[in-house]
Structures are given as structure tokens and as C-alpha cells.
């Protein structure tokens, strides 16, 4: 690759939140000069103000990533930080750009601009009545985060064993009167995580969640919600006003009683307003004079679905929430995607194309899209089919429709697949050397079950209805009913397809009724489709459970009797000639085997890929193994495009390795007993066997976590940069020693040191690459130096980049405490502390 072409490039990144930082980091890694402009005095953006949502385990919110990103960006060569500066305008002259700054500084000249100006949280002033504005018991999501971060929540709910806490969803979202009639997408999930955290901290808390349409979607979200829902009160219907009460009942909400239908007053001690995400006010002004459209809500928009990062100006890219509400992980990935687009375009001309085979597992929609995208970008996809599609475009040469992959060995850049293919009788075994593997598994879509007693010729799938609508519209009867969540929780894709089809039918003057438990709008696009359907006269009837609908097939018509949620104690009658049901989507049966093949875990719902945020959206514990498609997350075709861009960015890294990787881990052959413990424990499959017997570290696959170092029974694996003795050399008698994971606890400790709460004399923080590096030997050696206590601190369970770090370190703490001569739990502790949990860590170091 032509390094010079990159070194000559300069990019201005507007916004130092997770998206901007992620873009800047990625650009700098590729030697592109970056100006990162942030209006506040510190990096991190909104995500850095958010509390860690972990209970006993990580809840995968990604907020802690902002600390890690800030750390890496602040110390990165090639990134010039412009803090306390705001970009007020961007000017374009002959293909290059100038960012005008306030306060006045020389304009920043650049070849590209990445707009990552983020969002601003809605301020609910005056929206919920006057009691809300000044009352200390009415707080927003942001204020709750602040209370959690500063560990002030219990103090705030003093003397209450069962504090009554209400969460109000959609405050400042889905509100046309406030010109904010879009779904902010992330708030339901944020509130559910908050509730989960509060119930963990205050098990007696009496929590009520008021919502319009609860958006339970995304990786493991349904499982998490399922575990939570019986412990809280869920009320459909959002109170519009909060009334001030007396000291016993400080706050009153009036709402519909979900059980009767009478108007009810409920009393609360704390009301949390789940405020929407709005466009950053400066963004629209900044792009004035450029040809960048801004939508009614102030978000940038390019009108090209699935074009993650692109704007209508090729030199300007958009990352994170500047073009609409998104979660943290998606914003991080978008930053990376934008950076990649620039790198790719800069390096393109000088790029000779070597063969770069990539195995794509799956020939559903995502598999085929993957193959197309990879081909277009100069990679060589090999599609291993699961029998979904057989007539592929001729451009895809390497398609093995009915294949069975028997084994996967090797590591990034050198995978070896063995597979069988051909007719049953003439089945042959083949092998493929490839550089990476993409698991593009698709959920199975099974026809909805029919236990309604309706004749099957009156029941259609969405696909079936769509094709009739396309080919034979006059076949369609006048009265139609859709049942959105008949087959279980709706997926994003199926609810959007349903809304589109219902609207099309309504436009043909059909009478269209949709039954639903809730409408999955999830974001701006979904809300628009829902609005369009209602405007066109589609009737949406809401039910609580499937039992609220009775159906009677009366030869020419289906007669539904529906207990609509808002008409308690009554029933309405709906006639329909057809019933259209979305397919039931379930993880495919082969996922288990597929995950086994690549030695990767499934998620709790049987989907591909672990929910660990260190590797999502598309990565895995194993370098060179990637995921896309409905098999690993609830994605639409547009989402798949964004995922593929991210995968390509990472394939690019494999194709053009930066500095030669040196994990700093070596196996001392003289000591090695060839027991292969390392091979067994390595979560990244980074140990290979040379000559059939000798284990060796594979630098390309190694994350340098040190798990093998800590686990080798012969002490044969050594970390060259951090030997045990070097690490403990500075420990002094009577000190508190913290072995801290560099991605979590060490960053948390840094914040405590930086704000001066803790000094070097109080505490010796020893950074380790991963908690699993803290071996029993290391702890014992450090105890020998006479510290007051030794704290083992790392990521929350489920957040460890190396999968097992936290549990390994906990085992070590437990084991050391069980040894004779060690007083139990007096000198060696384990604690988990995310990067954004400085306060929690401080409490362990210096209990108050």
C-alpha cells in the first residue's frame, strides 16, 4: 500500500464523542493526519457521561468504550486535538475543505471532513407540567446516569426500602407538537438497563415503566426483557403530567389503570424521564453552504438507504448520531466505517490486487450480499451454501451450494477449510485456504402456525401477500387483516415489511386492520412507515395477548372479535377475508455446528456471535472471523450493508497489516512440557502446533491477554514486556496494590488519580493487558512484598475482550484466599470495575 498517499491526507473530524474518536483512531492508525475538534473541554461526548449498566454481568451498553477511546485518541501520534473549539462552518474550495472554528483560530484545512457532531438530549422543561421542572424527584435519563456514576442514588432515595420509581418513555420523542415525531430508538433499551441496574442495587424497588410501544429489539434484548418483566409493572400509556404531592407521596402520575380502565393516580418517589435524542443544534448551521440536506428534525440525511457514513458530498462523511439516533456500539462502528471509506479511496489507485479468498458461510440474503460486496471491493468470496439459493449471478464464481464444512483450522490470514460437496453418491472432500471467514447465517423463517381454525387458503405470509400484490393485485379482497406479532416478537425487518404492505393495500382502497401487541418502530425510518400507514387509514388494534383475539372462519369471511387495549371490557368486531401473518423467525438448526466449527460461542437466544461489546457489531474473539445477517442480530438489509462495510474495513486491516505484530509473548521451548494447556485455554485460537507437537504463538491472532502465561503449568510462557518481577518491583510494604486490566479498571483508576482523589502514596496501580494475566504466582509474589491488600480488578463478566479474563482472575482470588496463611478475604479481593466506574473502584481501594 502506498503509505505516502495516506500520509499526505488530512481529515477534520467534527466531534469528540465515540463516533468521532473511533474515526480519528482508525485514521491515525493508517497514518492519516487528523484534526479532532471537540466543543467541550474533554473528549468522550455523551457516552462518557453515562453510567455503567453492569450488574453482576456486563449489560453490553458500550458506554465504557468512550473512556478507552478517549485514552487511545489522546495519546495517538497524528491526531491534533482541538478541545474547547466548535466548528461553526465548513467551506468547500476545489475539492478541499476548511473548517471555521470558534473561538477564532486559523481554519483547519482538510481533504475530507467527518461529521460526528452527535446528538443533544431533549430538555423536558415545561413538557410535563410545572411540578416537573423544579422537583428534585423528577429527573432525566442523563441525571439518573449522573446519580449512578456518583453513587448518589441510594442517598437520594433515603430510608425507603421499596422506593417507588416510574420510568416515562418517549419524553420528547414521537411528539409532533414538539416537532420531534420520530422514535429515538435507544431510550427503551436504556430504561430497561437502568431498571435492571436499580433492581440489582435496590432489590425492593417498586418500578413502573410507562411506555407507548416498548422497543425490545437487538442482541439478547428479548432474553433480558423476559428476565425483567415479571419484576416490574408495565403500563401502556404515557402520563402527560406529573403532579406535586406531599412528603409521603411526593409525586403523582395520572394514567389509565391497565387492569380496569379507570383513570388512576399512582404515587412515586422518583420519576425518570426517558428523554429523546435530538439533533445537535449546531449541525445544520455548520453545513450551510454545502450541498448537504438536513431533515425536518435537524439531522443530516442523504436519502440513500444503507449507505452508512456517506453523505451527498463525496468528501464529507457522517458518523454516529449526526444523521439520527443510534446506540453507542453502532456509532463506534460507523466512525470506523467512515475512516475506512477515506483510507480506501486514498489508497485505491496504487493498489495491485492479490487474490484474497474469504469464506462466506451462508447463501441467504446476507451471504449473497456479502459475496457481492466483497467482489466489488477486490476480495475473493467463496460462498458455502446452506441450500437457500441456487441461481446466483454468474459473477460469483465460487459458490458451493450444497456443501458441508467439516473443519476449520488456522488463524487470520491462514484459515484452512475442509469441506465436502457434490451429489450424495459422488461426494468428495475439498479444502480451501482463505484469509478470513464470514458467518452470514440467516435465521430460519418458518410459516406461522395456524391454530386459529382458519382455512389455510385465507392465511398468507408477508412474502406471499407481497407477491400477490405485485403480480395479481385484482385477486386481493377488500378486507384484510395483518397480525403483527402472531408468531412471537416481531423482527425489525418483518414489521417494516408489514407496514409497507399494509400501506400499499390501503392505497388500493382496501380496508386494512393490523392487530399488534406493540408497534416496533425503532428509529426514524420505522416511525415514518408507521405514520404513513396510519395516515392512509390502516387501523391498528392493540391487544395484550394473543388470547384477546377470537377468530371464526365463516366460509367467505373471517370474523375476529378483538379486545382492544384501550376499550377495556368491550369487544370490537373486525371482518376480513384474508389474514396475513409474518413468518416465525428462529435461529437456524445449523448455527450450533457452525459456532463449533469456528470455536465461537452462541448467544443466549441461540443466535450466532457472543453479545460481547468488545467485538461487536461484526467481530469475534477470533481475528479474521466475522458475522453479518439475521443469524447474529436483528438486522434489515440496510443494516447488513453497514455491517459489510465494517467487515471490509477489517479485512483491509488483514490485507494491509500495519506494524508487524509482536504480542510480546513467547514460549520457552526448554521449559515447555507440550501439555497443550495453552492451546486449550486460548480464547482467540492463537496457538498453533508446529511439527505436530510444539505449540507456538501466532502473532496475527494473538490479543496478548496473557491467559496462556497465567495458565501454563510449566511456567514456560513468558511475557517479554511485563515479567512478573518487573511488575511487582515497585510495590512497597503497607501499600494497597491494584492489578488492573488496561481496558477497564486501569482506566477507572486513572480518572480517580487525575481528579486528585487518590495519590501514588495511597495506592500502586499495576496495569495488566487483561485480568487473566494475574496469575496465582503473580499474586503470591506481590503478597511477599508485604502490601496492605491486593486488589484484582478487571472487566465485568461478559465484557472481557478475551472472554475469560474476569472469571480467571476471580478464580485466582478465590484460590489464593483458600491457601493456608492467607486470612480469608482480608488481603486479596476481586472486583470488577468498568472504565467509567472510577467511583466504585475508589470505594474498594478506600472504603469509606
Amino acid at each position: 500500500m502506498n503509505k505516502h498517499a495516506l500520509e499526505e491526507k488530512t481529515v477534520v473530524v467534527v466531534g469528540g464523542g465515540v463516533a468521532g474518536m473511533s474515526a480519528a483512531r482508525h485514521l491515525a492508525q493508517h497514518h492519516i493526519n487528523v484534526h479532532l475538534v471537540e466543543k467541550s473541554p474533554t473528549l468522550g461526548g455523551n457516552a462518557s457521561l453515562w453510567a455503567c449498566m453492569a450488574t453482576d454481568t456486563c449489560q453490553n451498553c458500550g458506554a465504557c468504550l468512550s473512556q478507552e477511546l478517549a485514552q487511545s485518541v489522546a495519546n495517538k501520534n497524528g491526531i491534533s486535538l482541538h478541545l474547547n473549539q466548535q466548528v461553526t462552518a465548513i467551506e468547500k474550495n476545489e475539492g478541499s475543505y476548511s473548517a471555521i472554528l470558534d473561538p477564532d483560530s486559523p481554519p483547519l484545512k482538510a481533504d475530507h471532513v467527518i461529521l460526528a457532531s452527535g446528538f443533544s438530549a431533549f430538555r423536558p422543561d415545561g413538557l410535563l407540567g410545572q411540578a416537573c421542572d423544579a422537583h428534585p424527584g423528577v429527573i432525566t435519563t442523563n441525571q439518573l446516569n449522573h446519580l449512578l456514576t456518583n453513587q448518589n442514588l441510594d442517598r437520594f432515595l433515603t430510608d425507603k426500602e421499596s422506593p417507588r420509581i416510574a420510568f416515562l418513555q418517549c419524553v420528547g420523542s414521537r411528539n409532533r407538537e414538539k416537532k420531534r415525531d420520530f422514535c429515538s430508538q435507544v431510550c427503551c433499551k436504556i430504561s430497561l438497563r437502568h431498571i435492571n441496574k436499580i433492581l440489582h442495587m435496590i432489590p425492593g424497588a417498586d418500578v413502573t415503566m410507562f411506555y407507548m410501544d416498548l422497543q425490545v429489539i437487538g442482541k439478547e434484548a428479548r432474553t433480558e426483557f423476559g428476565a425483567l418483566k415479571d419484576n416490574i409493572r408495565l403500563v401502556q400509556g404515557v402520563p402527560a403530567e406529573i403532579l406535586k404531592g406531599n412528603p409521603d407521596n411526593p409525586l403523582t402520575l395520572i394514567h389509565e389503570n391497565p387492569d380496569s380502565m379507570a383513570r388512576a393516580a399512582s404515587h412515586f418517589d422518583l420519576v425518570v424521564l426517558s428523554v429523546g435524542l435530538h439533533a445537535q443544534p449546531g449541525t445544520a448551521g455548520m453545513v450551510q453552504g454545502l450541498d448537504l440536506p438536513v431533515n425536518d428534525w435537524g439531522f443530516l440525511t442523504n436519502g440513500i438507504p444503507g449507505s452508512s457514513g456517506q453523505s451527498s458530498d463525496p468528501g464529507i462523511l457522517v458518523a454516529g448520531c449526526a444523521d439520527g439516533p443510534k446506540d453507542i456500539i453502532t456509532s463506534v462502528v460507523e466512525g470506523e466505517n467512515c475512516a475506512h471509506r477515506i483510507i480506501q479511496s486514498a489508497a485505491e489507485a496504487s493498489q495491485p490486487s492479490d487474490p484474497f479468498p474469504v469464506a462466506v458461510m451462508g447463501d441467504g440474503h446476507a451471504g449473497i450480499e456479502t459475496a457481492h460486496t466483497l467482489s466489488a471491493l477486490g476480495f475473493d468470496p467463496w460462498v458455502f451454501g446452506q441450500g437457500h439459493r441456487r441461481d446466483l449471478p454468474a459473477t460469483l464464481n465460487n459458490y458451493i451450494p450444497d456443501s458441508r464444512v467439516v473443519s476449520v483450522t488456522g488463524y487470520a490470514n491462514q484459515y484452512l477449510l475442509t469441506y465436502t460437496a457434490g451429489d450424495e453418491e459422488k461426494k468428495k472432500s475439498f479444502s480451501l485456504s482463505c484469509r478470513a471467514i464470514i458467518l452470514a447465517g440467516e435465521d430460519q423463517f418458518l410459516p406461522a402456525g395456524n391454530d386459529l381454525g382458519i382455512k389455510s387458503d385465507k392465511i398468507l405470509s408477508l412474502e406471499g401477500f407481497a407477491s400477490t400484490l405485485d403480480t395479481d393485485p385484482e385477486m386481493i379482497p377488500d378486507k384484510l387483516a395483518f397480525w403483527q406479532d402472531f408468531s412471537g416478537p416481531e423482527s425489525k425487518q418483518s414489521s417494516r415489511q408489514l407496514l409497507l404492505l399494509a400501506t400499499r393495500a390501503a392505497k388500493l382502497k382496501k380496508t386494512v386492520t393490523v392487530f399488534m401487541e406493540k408497534m416496533l418502530v425503532h428509529g426514524m425510518d420505522g416511525q415514518r412507515l408507521y405514520d404513513e400507514a396510519r395516515k392512509n387509514g390502516v387501523k391498528f388494534l392493540r391487544i395484550n395477548t394473543p388470547d384477546d383475539i377470537q377468530a371464526a372462519d365463516q366460509s367467505d369471511i373471517i370474523q375476529f372479535t378483538v379486545k382492544e387495549v384501550s376499550l377495556k371490557g368491550m369487544a370490537v368486531s373486525v371482518e376480513s377475508q384474508w389474514l396475513i401473518l409474518p413468518d416465525r423467525s428462529v435461529p437456524d438448526v445449523y448455527f450450533d455446528a457452525l459456532a463449533d466449527l469456528v470455536n465461537e460461542p452462541l448467544d443466549r437466544e441461540g443466535g450466532l456471535q457472543s453479545p460481547n461489546i468488545r467485538h461487536r457489531l461484526t467481530g469475534s474473539f477470533r481475528k479474521g472471523v466475522f458475522y453479518t445477517g439475521t443469524g447474529h442480530d436483528d438486522v434489515t438489509p440496510d443494516d447488513v450493508q453497514a455491517e459489510l462495510l465494517n467487515i471490509c474495513a477489517r479485512l483491509w486491516e488483514l490485507k494491509h497489516p500495519q506494524d508487524p505484530a509482536d504480542p510480546g509473548v513467547v514460549i520457552n521451548e526448554k521449559k515447555c512440557a507440550k501439555c497443550l494447556t495453552c492451546l486449550r485455554v486460548c480464547p482467540h485460537s492463537a496457538i498453533r502446533i508446529n511439527n505436530g507437537v510444539k505449540p507456538a504463538i501466532v502473532p496475527e491472532a494473538c490479543y496478548a491477554c496473557g491467559l496462556c502465561v497465567a495458565n501454563c503449568p510449566a511456567l514456560a510462557i513468558e511475557k517479554t514486556d511485563h515479567s512478573d518481577d518487573e511488575m511487582i518491583a515497585a510495590i512497597q510494604k503497607g501499600q494497597c496494590v491494584v492489578f488492573a486490566c488496561q481496558r477497564s479498571a486501569a482506566l477507572a483508576a486513572k480518572t480517580v488519580f487525575e481528579n486528585g482523589t487518590l495519590g501514588d502514596q495511597d495506592c500502586q496501580v499495576i496495569e495488566v493487558p487483561c485480568a487473566c494475566r494475574i496469575s496465582t504466582g503473580l499474586v503470591l509474589k506481590s503478597l511477599a512484598r508485604g502490601p496492605e491488600k491486593v486488589i484484582l480488578a478487571g472487566c465485568h463478566e461478559g465484557n472481557c475482550q478475551s472472554h475469560k479474563g474476569s472469571s480467571e482472575a476471580q478464580d485466582v482470588a478465590r484460590f489464593v484466599n483458600s491457601l493456608p496463611g492467607i486470612r480469608e478475604n482480608q488481603s486479596v479481593f476481586w472486583t470488577s470495575a468498568a472504565a467509567n466506574e472510577g467511583g466504585q473502584l475508589l470505594n474498594i481501594i478506600q472504603p469509606s
Binding site: 418517549c170 379507570a262 387509514g537
Partner: protein
């Protein structure tokens, strides 16, 4: 709501033209914000706004007609104020009230009032002759009271700058109020008049949502006013009268009337601002809570002039909480006050207002609406609030420095 029990037969969705029913009824998200904001909010029974919206949306006309909600609704639009999609409840209830099957639900007093107004020109049946006799007698008294032979209560004076449109009560049980208003005009040193052809600011066509009736009643005001050639029509303190004449007339009669419309507190405030009218706040040396009539405030955007005027007439204006666009109805809106049989119900709907007044800890309340004024007086007695109630213009009149 009366019909909440399980029904044997399901309601049948019959009408599909829900989009005709309100500007954007179809866009209802079923979020329940309306129910939370209803003026009946801490009362048992009463209409459940979401149910009404949803029933209207689904075309469940029977349900709405049978719900008992139609004449329980105060048309205060507090639910609409809070609706994220801005769906107008008063429109939905109005359609229910004018539904052919709901005609017999119109309260008897209102039916009678509408009929009398259309026939006689005054909702209480005051004839032109009675009007002239009353006004002439009042005018004589007025000369004495003002000790000024030029002081007058004129009627049918062509070319006057202002025409005052009184509330029927001002020519019936509350004559002193008309004199008080005359004093304000006298103090303004402007030409003004009453009209013997129409005497009534009210328009009960609005309550029964009969556009034809409402149009006739509006024309009964507009045409004579135009013939007199006035510049500005000054309305007595009347909530729904103001809402109809100020904001709905153009739509009702299909054209702009040939004059401006203001309420009497606005009129007085203009002359206080230009220094012609002088008021002595020491006349009322106490704090007075201001009540926002729904028809003036939320429904017609009139918030500040009456407040400003009140501030000139007493020691201090106290705000009730919540107020302005979030204000709580007195409990007599939507035609309820005009129905003499509704008193027990109004003491339920007035509970929220009574609590608000108690919380404010005041001895005096003022409202620029004679309906609110009456209801507030009744809830004060019923809930033993021990507050005195007045209207803004009446207080101003007492504070005049002549």
C-alpha cells in the same frame, strides 16, 4: 363513563371515514397522554379520553353515543394540549354531540336556550323592548352615579368606535355589572355603544356542535355590528363567546367580519397602557389568584392581557399551578354550567380546581369569564374554600381613578 361493563355483543366497526372526523385523528398513537391530562383526572367516572379517541378512530359511533361522555366532557382541550400528535378532542366530542342518535342527550336547558336565542335574540328571552327599557333606566342611574350629565350608556349609536357585547346575565340578574363596564368605557373617553338588536355574547350552537345554529348566532352579532359601522367589538368576559367570535367566526360565516374583536380586559389594558385609564391597586389590598378560562387561554391563546390588568387592580397576582396552557378547567366548561341540572357533577369536576386554589393559599380568585366566575363561586361555597370570586373587568372598574 357509564357503559364500561362487559357487553354481550361486540361493537361493530362501521364507519371508515375516520379521517373526516378531526384533522389528524388517524394519527393517534394510543399513547394515553390525553387520559392523563383530563380535567376529570382525580375523579371517579367521567370520560376516558383515550377510549373516546380510539372509539372515534375505529368508527365505534354506538359506543361513543352510549358512553355518557358526550356531555360530561368539559371541552377544555387539556388532553389536546398534551397530545403529541395535536388531535383535537373538542372536535371529536362535538361530532358525538351532533350525532343523530345523541340528540336526546342535549341538556334541556341548552335546548331551550338555543331555541329562545334564535327566536328572540337573547338566550334568556330578553326582548328588544325590555332591553331598551332596562338600558335607559340604567343610563339615568349612571348619570347620577358618575355625577356627570354627559355620562351615558348609549345604544344603537352609529359610527361609535366600540360596540360592547354583554353577557345575558348583565341584563338580567347582574345589572350592576353592566354599569361597571359602562364606567370603564366612560373612563376611556371613547365613543361606544350597545345594540338593541343583539344583546348576547353567548353562542350555544358551539356546545351542541350545530354549525348552522352557530352560524346564525354568529351572524346575529356580526351583521348589526357591521351596520353600526363600529371599529371594534368588545366582548363581555365570556370564555366560549370569545373563542367563537374571535377564532371561529370567519370559518362559520365564510368571511372576515368588518371589525376587530377583543375582550373587555384587553380593551381596558390598552387604555391603561396609553395612560388614559388610571387604576388604583390599593382598592384591593390583597393577593388575587388568576384563573385561566380554557376557552380564552388554551383554546384562543389569550394569556397575558387579563393578567396584566389584574396586576393593576390588586396587591399581587398569584399563579395557580398548573396554569396558562396547562391550566385546569373550573369544572363548568363544555356547556355544563349552562345546564342547571349539572350542579352535583360540577362539584366533582370542580374538585381539581378547588384543590388548586387551596394549594395557592389565597382569599381571592379572579377570572375573565362569567361562567368560570359562577362555577368558582359555587365550588368555593361547596368546598368551603372561603375565597371571594370576581371578574377582571369588574375589579378594574372598582379601581378606576376618575
Amino acid at each position: 363513563m357509564t357503559l364500561l361493563s362487559q357487553v354481550e355483543n361486540p361493537y361493530i366497526i362501521t364507519r371508515l371515514d375516520a379521517d373526516q372526523r378531526g384533522e389528524n385523528l388517524l394519527e393517534c398513537l394510543s399513547c394515553g397522554a390525553c387520559t392523563s391530562a383530563c380535567s376529570w383526572f382525580d375523579q371517579e367516572g367521567g370520560p376516558v379520553p383515550r377510549l373516546i379517541m380510539r372509539a372515534a378512530l375505529m368508527g365505534l359511533d354506538d359506543l361513543i353515543v352510549q358512553s355518557g361522555a358526550l356531555w360530561d366532557c368539559l371541552l377544555c382541550n387539556r388532553c389536546t394540549q398534551n397530545c403529541p400528535m395535536g388531535i383535537t378532542m373538542s372536535q371529536i366530542i362535538g361530532q358525538g354531540r351532533s350525532h343523530p342518535d345523541a340528540r336526546d342527550q342535549i341538556p334541556e336547558d341548552i335546548q331551550k336556550g338555543v331555541k329562545t336565542r334564535l327566536e328572540v335574540g337573547d338566550v334568556n328571552g330578553l326582548t328588544k323592548e325590555e332591553f331598551v327599557e332596562t338600558v335607559e333606566w340604567l343610563a339615568e342611574e349612571f348619570v347620577d352615579e358618575m355625577d356627570d350629565p354627559q355620562a351615558t350608556i348609549p345604544y344603537d349609536q352609529e359610527g361609535s368606535k366600540f360596540l360592547y357585547l354583554p353577557n345575558p346575565r348583565e341584563l338580567g340578574i347582574n345589572l350592576l355589572h353592566l354599569t361597571a363596564m359602562a364606567k370603564l368605557f366612560y373612563a376611556s373617553k371613547e365613543t361606544w355603544t350597545l345594540s338593541s338588536r343583539h344583546t348576547d355574547v353567548t353562542n350555544w350552537g358551539y356546545f351542541i356542535n350545530d354549525e348552522e345554529v352557530a352560524r346564525k348566532m354568529a351572524l346575529m352579532v356580526v351583521e348589526p355590528a357591521e351596520e353600526l359601522g363600529i371599529e371594534t367589538l368588545v366582548l363581555s368576559e365570556c370564555g366560549h363567546g370569545y373563542h367563537v367570535l374571535k377564532t371561529l367566526t370567519e370559518k362559520l360565516i365564510g368571511r372576515k367580519p368588518g371589525f376587530d374583536v377583543i375582550s373587555i380586559p384587553e380593551f381596558v389594558m390598552n387604555y391603561v397602557d396609553n395612560g388614559v385609564i388610571k387604576l388604583d391597586p390599593a382598592i384591593h389590598p390583597f393577593k388575587v389568584a388568576y384563573h385561566d378560562p380554557c376557552n380564552l387561554a388554551r383554546k384562543s391563546d389569550l394569556y397575558d392581557p387579563p393578567r396584566k390588568l389584574l396586576a393593576h387592580c390588586c396587591e399581587e397576582v398569584v399563579e395557580l399551578s398548573p396554569n396558562r396552557e396547562n391550566g385546569i378547567c373550573c369544572g363548568g366548561g363544555g356547556g355544563m354550567l349552562q345546564d342547571s341540572s349539572s350542579k352535583p357533577k360540577r362539584m366533582l369536576t370542580g374538585k381539581a380546581k378547588a384543590d388548586q386554589i387551596t394549594a395557592a393559599g389565597v382569599t381571592h380568585v379572579a377570572a375573565p369569564c362569567l361562567s368560570c366566575h359562577r362555577q368558582l363561586g359555587e365550588i368555593s361555597a361547596h368546598f368551603k374554600l372561603n375565597v371571594a370570586v370576581d371578574t377582571i373587568a369588574s375589579m378594574a372598574s372598582k379601581c378606576l381613578v376618575l
